[in-house]
Symmetry: D2
Subunit: 276 residues, 4 copies
């Protein structure tokens, strides 16, 4: 792929790593967990407690929610950011949350450890340019109709601005299949690991839209070569204000993380130190 001056994997095979809290992303396996939306102080506190206890390494939660309908819950905004920050601080977890507006980049960066660019904003080029100017890691989600090449070009926008702490996230693409919410494209993970030095994360929650598929798809994603997972977990999924069908409980997260850790270890033994 031409035109990727900064995002392309170089001949020396060197890969990007960067620290967030105690974790070295791109080296340590990253396990992001938390609710789709920050709904209340209690909810995110409880989610943080569950995330910490089950062994997750980062807490997620949306304060600004891109929703199909203007009448759906749009997130708590700045208050949500504060609740999320407090929850992360209390349980010693770095936090990640989405930014959807160029005007909010500095505000969100003030609160969060990692900024997320959502799938619908992957080609919001002014937003990419804006997060390229700050010194906080960015998780860039693949648009639901984006090619691998377009995703890498979007990473290039951020890198070009000077921000080198970029990770990519496969979260399912839109196809004709409707049994799953999206079609999780795990071959994109393998492809990306061969094309770029940036860490690659997989989101099996949006990728499938079905909680019973999250565990097998997570383990599958590990063998495809991913550097981490982002999973939606809610203290009480049935009462979630958004994405109720795809959020797992704390108990399910615990079971997932045990299997994830074993699979990451198995992968290491298989490749004896070399990346997939």
């Amino acid at each position: 792929m031409k035109g990727l001056k900064l995002a392309a994997l170089q001949k020396n095979g060197e890969r990007t790593t960067f620290n967030v809290g105690d974790i070295t992303i791109g080296k340590d396996f990253l396990m992001i967990a938390g609710p789709c939306s920050v709904e209340s102080e209690e909810q995110i506190m409880e989610a943080a407690r569950l995330a910490k206890e089950t062994g997750a390494s980062m807490l997620r939660g949306g304060a600004y929610k891109p929703r199909t309908s203007p009448y759906a819950f749009q997130g708590l905004g700045r208050v949500g950011l504060k609740y999320l920050r407090d929850a992360g601080d209390k349980y010693g977890l770095p936090i990640i949350t989405e930014v959807v507006d160029t005007r909010d980049v500095y505000l969100v960066a003030e609160y969060t450890d990692v900024l997320q660019i959502g799938a619908r904003n992957m080609q919001n080029f002014t937003l990419l340019t804006e997060v390229g100017k700050i010194d906080k890691p960015v998780l860039l989600k693949r648009g639901m109709n984006a090619t691998i090449e377009e995703l890498l070009n979007c990473a290039e926008y951020i890198l070009k601005g000077g921000n080198k702490k970029v990770m990519l996230c496969e979260r399912g693409i839109r196809t004709y299949e409707t049994y799953t919410r999206n079609t999780l494209d795990l071959s994109a993970v393998t492809a990306l690991k061969g094309l770029t030095h940036l860490p690659v994360i997989v989101d099996p929650s949006h990728g499938t839209g079905r909680k019973e598929m999250i565990k097998p798809m997570s383990l599958s994603a590990i063998m495809a070569g991913c550097d981490g997972l982002a999973v939606e977990m809610h203290p009480n999924p049935c009462e979630a204000l958004s994405d109720a069908d795809q959020q797992i409980t704390g108990v399910e997260l615990e079971d997932l993380i045990i299997s994830v850790n074993k699979t990451v270890e198995f992968r290491s033994s298989l490749y004896t130190g070399t990346q997939v």
Copy 2:
């Protein structure tokens, strides 16, 4: 389709119309023409002259260009807006241009007669909310992976803000077919005319990516029920800084408009006053 409080066609069948310059959009057939990008004062002046002489009713031109690569021509920005305004004024044509950043909405609105939300920003909900607050017409392009329902929900975001002057634009969706740049979904035009009271415009330039297909697809779109067309025309397509393959010349535009006018007239005779 539920949840469309403002965008849905009502039982009385009333349709939205609004004036831009001398044209009543939704009643008069709208013919937008102009280059993909404003490249220089001379280029847009010449494009305006050609648009006027051939009978187009609105001048288009991009000042802020969303481009896949950060190294591609990104548009002239504010200077481009000024050139476009001057060209429109000189030839008595209302103008339309894209806004890509919430921070630029008031600036762009100051210069232009109609604001365009591009396909990649269709679900940039904060941008939709922002243009919902102003008193200028908006052309909302369908995202290349957006369902008809999602497009209508995005229009609902704008309408909810108080801006009732919204028109929709079908510009091709992304499918597996690669012969055409996108797959122009003309059935969406017919579907939209049955679902919403908002005017529907078709962009056969992005829809096909092939200049030789623009005329038949334009005439086809008219019979599908569209209220206007948006066509890329460049004084010298070979030297265009973007989308060279799909821009037609002034001579080709003249030929197109003659056929378009005849087809619109034919359609009126066929339905003797009733909409498709």
Copy 3:
């Protein structure tokens, strides 16, 4: 497109025409109408009467039905062929019906005037080879995931066998959009007219799956350059054994054909003798 020795449009621009009954396909506009399935002698007789009276030029009806479920109505088989033949004969209409098995080609050819290869069998290469050996026209439907290039290569299979009477049929492709049953790709019609000398037919019934969209899509298809239409019509759509949602009545067919004829005439006047 390379590799199309026989299907490609030649420099002289000559187009394939062939006679079926009184019609010259590729020259006269072809209007195929009839039910999805032949259900009984009475039903197909009544359908033939309606087709004839409203001005259709060919009668369709399926005797062998490819159905998603093995428990759905599979067609009347040989008996259905006989009923269809009798109905065509009684009303002086040539008939078209689908063949789905290499073993049935000669049997079906004995009864019908035109053989149809359905979308699911477009790449059933042994079936294509078999119909390439006979001296009856073939209507080849585009597979719902087939590229234009693949469709033309399938026509090449038939032509290579010696059968030159081939027409192509656009019937909608499978995309992520679910509002319509398929996405009718009218740009494929225009593309095909520029790539091949074979006649191109459009099926707006399967293409949309919605009866209210058949008329606008039919007129739209004409302006895209098609040589004919294939429309599902049933004497009593509500009682149809298959595809009830997309079959129109005789009254609706009459209204459709009046508009189709006017539009074909308009198209001729627009191009004054030249093809789109």
Copy 4:
């Protein structure tokens, strides 16, 4: 999913197993390897030797090749069947090959241990009906535009005929992404394991079209829950008459099978006896 009387997983959770040679499919992990096409006696003999030595459990090779162009190599036909049979016999490997015509079902069944229905014939319902009548296992490949529900309905056609030895094969679906030949839908594997009792095989060769992706996608497929893999291997991929880009060498197959075996063992330890 309704209408699946025979293919649906029952409440007792019982799964289909059947023997082919020494292997119990659905219980033992199935490793199919061999060239895309049988090209000569020497080539398939050498492929069989490599398959046997590296630990594959079944030999594949196409004698009847469905090819996009009628001018491409179409396979050796009956002679190819004989070469394949001889190669399987010499090295003690059961064989699998594709049948593409209803007229050839008995002939192919005479030579082969397992019949393959290719992706392009998934909805060739008369072919499905025909293989439903025989007493040989069938591997049914998912069509490149088929939904999971359609695939299961096609299996139902075979089961309804009385043939209970059916396995399904995910081989990639057609999407807008062009970096990979198809998009391997591993979530379909997990979905199928929850919907049906039939064994599920994955073909990472057609699924990706890129030999460097075969190993990670194979291991990924195992964690998604598959019961076997089908991999294209050629003694000399560069000289292959078809699909040269996606066939691996014997050396690569050996390395693959070592990792596959370890991963299958790891999966067993993770689930301690329970299926994914």
